[in-house]
């Protein structure tokens, strides 16, 4: 077959595989800045989300949002109507009056309405980790501190609740983090409690690195837990690092534990077939630059992992690496509990902040933010791709916003992560983006709570008259599965 024809046919097949004409899912997209804070211009980046599985009307979100009154506690965003409207409630210890909390992730217990959080306190310069808990996130009572220690980066919370057997009802809490105080250099860590809902729960620090590092691992350590007790995690296992250039190489390592990470050697059920060490190296010696950037957003290593709630054998991962000047996002799948891995199911140039979730029908959601367009007119395109089989995709463009408006205030511009999760058949996600009220920036539609004039494309203050500068806001998205 002539090359030209072959190319045309391949292109047609490719288009078919990424068809947008497949039944378009129903999308709810909401800018979650409340109406009462219409005058705010903060860089509300790095958002996360937690949906209460016991009450789908209750959703909590977070971002680098300060307490509006500069008080002692940083706010969470909360919705009590399924994400349609949002309110701030300042209950997170350690507010920084300009940025709120430091790094934060949140997750609900499956059945008890308890909300857990892992944070770096905004009022500390010592990378002070707090693992937090509240039985009532709507109350003004500050979250309870379960763990408090310094020298930790990027706490990432996951919770599973045991559904049967002698431990039924216990909350298994996993907080992936990069514990920079570990002198051996094996800094990738998971703080784990097997019964986190009790008074004074016990935590164990699990050091998951089994290989030599140049003094540390990368910041993201991401667990994902299946209700049958299969616990996975992914991290960026650093092999080399140059302090001056910020360049390094890392293996992308996946770990598994078949019993909640509860044994004497937790997260050691996957052995790499080549070096015989704990954790399968899905990709080796990937390149990264810790000083790198994509547009105004810093780079340096993104990883994500999700286990299929319908089948704990099936796992998807996403990770980034540098290919020349491109920051490339990869999506791969394992169907045999992480033993072997597919080639790239998706390979997306200059994209980051992957969020992965699988619904109760085994459908995968893949959220990411890609930088597109010519240098002078670049845009951040936030997409959600959905697939049942890893080969046929439905793509939703949630937002397309100017990449350099507003101006940069601090790193991270959009966040070192965005989030996606699934409860039942539906997907719930959150990302940060430039908030100009322009309809074509949100092709699936959008709802603003804050005041805006959509004709003049202007944000308005609480008096609904005075103009307000464009800034970065968090956007909640719900997509019917």
């Amino acid at each position: 077959m002539p090359a030209k024809k072959r190319s045309k046919k391949a292109s047609k097949a490719s288009k078919k595989k990424t068809s947008k004409k497949a039944a378009t899912p129903k999308v709810l997209l909401v800018n979650i800045i409340p109406k009462s804070l219409s005058g705010e211009t903060h860089q509300d980046s790095e958002p996360t989300i937690a949906v209460n599985p016991a009450n789908l009307q209750q959703i909590v979100a977070t971002a680098f949002t300060p307490d509006p009154q500069h008080g002692e506690y940083a706010p969470i965003y909360m919705s009590q109507d399924g994400g349609n409207t949002w309110t701030l409630n300042s209950i997170v210890p350690g507010n920084n009056r300009r940025t709120g909390t430091g790094d934060i992730t949140v997750k609900f217990s499956k059945s008890s309405n308890v909300l857990y959080a892992g944070i770096l306190r905004g009022d500390s310069r010592g990378f002070r980790l707090n693992i937090l808990r509240t039985k009532n996130f709507m109350s003004s009572t500050p979250m309870e501190i379960l763990v408090d220690r310094k020298g930790v980066d990027q706490p990432y919370v996951q919770v599973a609740t045991v559904s049967r057997g002698p431990h039924k009802g216990k909350d298994r809490l996993y907080v992936g983090n990069n514990d920079l105080h570990v002198k051996s250099g094996a800094t990738a860590t998971i703080d784990r409690s097997l019964n986190a809902a009790v008074s004074n729960p016990r935590f164990k620090k699990i050091r998951v690195e089994s290989r030599d590092t140049p003094g540390q691992d990368g910041p993201p350590v991401r667990p994902s837990i299946h209700p049958d007790g299969t616990a996975y995690a992914i991290y960026q296992s650093w092999r080399t690092y140059d302090d001056d250039s910020g360049e390094g190489t890392a293996d992308i390592v996946v770990l598994r534990d078949d019993n909640w990470g509860s044994g004497s050697k937790p997260f050691s059920d996957l052995i790499d077939p080549l070096d015989g060490k704990t954790g399968v190296r899905v990709a080796q010696s990937t390149k990264f630059n810790f000083h790198g950037s994509l547009g105004l957003q810093r780079t340096g290593g993104d990883v994500a992992l999700v286990v299929d709630p319908t089948n704990s054998d099936v796992v998807y991962i996403a990770y980034n690496d540098d290919h020349g000047v491109d920051y490339v996002l990869h999506l791969l799948r394992s169907k045999d509990r992480g033993e072997t891995w597919s080639q790239d199911l998706r390979k997306i140039r200059n994209a980051l902040n992957p969020g992965l979730a699988i619904n109760n029908a085994g459908k995968l959601g893949f959220l990411y933010q890609a930088l597109r367009g010519p240098a002078a007119a670049q845009r951040w395109i936030t997409k959600l791709e959905l697939t049942r089989n890893g080969s046929s995709w439905t793509t939703l463009t949630l937002a397309t916003t100017p990449a350099e408006i507003p101006e940069f205030k601090f790193d991270p511009y959009l966040g070192d992560y965005a989030h996606l999760m699934a409860v039942g058949k539906d997907f719930y996600g959150i990302f940060s983006a430039s908030n100009t009220p322009r309809k074509k920036n949100f092709p699936c539609g959008v709802v603003y709570q804050r005041n805006a004039n959509w004709t003049t494309e202007t944000l308005l203050n609480v008096n609904n008259t005075s103009p307000v500068k464009v800034s970065i806001d968090p956007f909640f998205v719900k997509v019917a599965g």
Partner: protein
């Protein structure tokens, strides 16, 4: 059902004169309503953070302290902290007081409520500062521990068990500003120079700290520093500016500046200058 609010402590951060419009009522569905919940019209801001600066004329929800039982139409001064922020706002009043003649200075329209809020924060910084000086930045240099980090890189070309100082995206990227002291306004300091350590990082944790440049002059509100031990084997070779040659040895007293209020340039009127003046009067 929203949970009953629990009493908070702390200093009020949003102070305003308001008129009680409704009793046992709220402007938001998500807040709990009881006998202490009232709707208040904000008549005048006395002290306000920037995000709440446009609330004059707006009706908001106030959870009263319980000290007094106001009537509809009564005008009070409310000293409040954060509650919830949604379609409207809910604030928690730590205390309320009837408007009296003695409040006339506080209610003077001449004082910007945001500036008053900032002044309170500045005052707090002044009180907490170990040392307040006026002076000029002579040079900006790389601290010994940062130099060591750089010097150790050659050992890191491959995986090794050599201990290096780990990096994070929140790395402060410490720098030392060498400051020539003109005058000491608070604390004890006898040397002509001090080192002010500050983070050059633009990370969320550090971006709003002062970023000193040679030639800047003004007032410095400083905390004592406990510098980390330089990494072993570090070698002091790298300079940030040519003027680094004037930097004293790091045995000079070292302080830190982490907050934007820790430095006020000479060109900016009021602020810390007023506090120093009031301290001296």
């Amino acid at each position: 059902m929203p949970a009953r609010k629990k009493a908070q402590t702390g200093k009020p951060t949003f102070v305003f004169k308001g008129t009680v419009k409704k009793l046992k009522s709220a402007t938001m569905k998500t807040v709990a309503v009881d006998s202490k919940t009232v709707v208040v019209s904000v008549d005048q801001l006395i002290e306000a953070p920037p995000d709440l600066a446009a609330y004059v004329g707006q009706e908001i929800t106030v959870q009263l302290s319980g000290a007094i039982k106001p009537k509809v139409g009564q005008q009070l001064i409310f000293h409040t902290v954060s509650g919830q922020y949604g379609e409207s706002i809910e604030v928690r009043s730590l205390s309320e007081e009837p408007v009296q003649a003695t409040h006339s200075a506080m209610l003077s329209a001449a004082v910007d409520p945001i500036e008053r809020h900032r002044d309170r924060e500045r005052r707090s910084h002044f009180d907490k500062a170990d040392l307040v000086v006026s002076g000029k930045v002579l040079a900006v240099t790389l601290p010994a521990d940062e130099q060591a980090k750089s010097a150790s890189k050659t050992a890191l070309a491959a995986a090794t068990t050599t201990r290096r100082k780990p990096v994070s995206e929140h790395d402060p990227k410490w720098r030392n500003a060498v400051v020539e002291v003109d005058e000491v306004h608070k604390g004890k300091h006898t040397k002509k120079q001090i080192i002010v350590r500050f983070p050059a990082s633009t990370d969320v944790m550090w971006y709003n700290a002062p970023k000193f440049q040679p030639g800047q002059s003004g007032h410095f509100l400083l905390q004592k520093s406990k510098p980390e031990e330089p990494a072993k084997g570090g070698k002091a070779t790298k300079k940030i500016t040519a003027a680094a040659a004037v930097a004293p040895a790091e045995t000079t007293d070292t302080y830190v500046a982490l907050d934007p209020l820790d430095f006020q340039p000479d060109s900016e009127p009021g602020g810390i200058k007023n506090i120093i003046e009031s301290e001296n009067s």
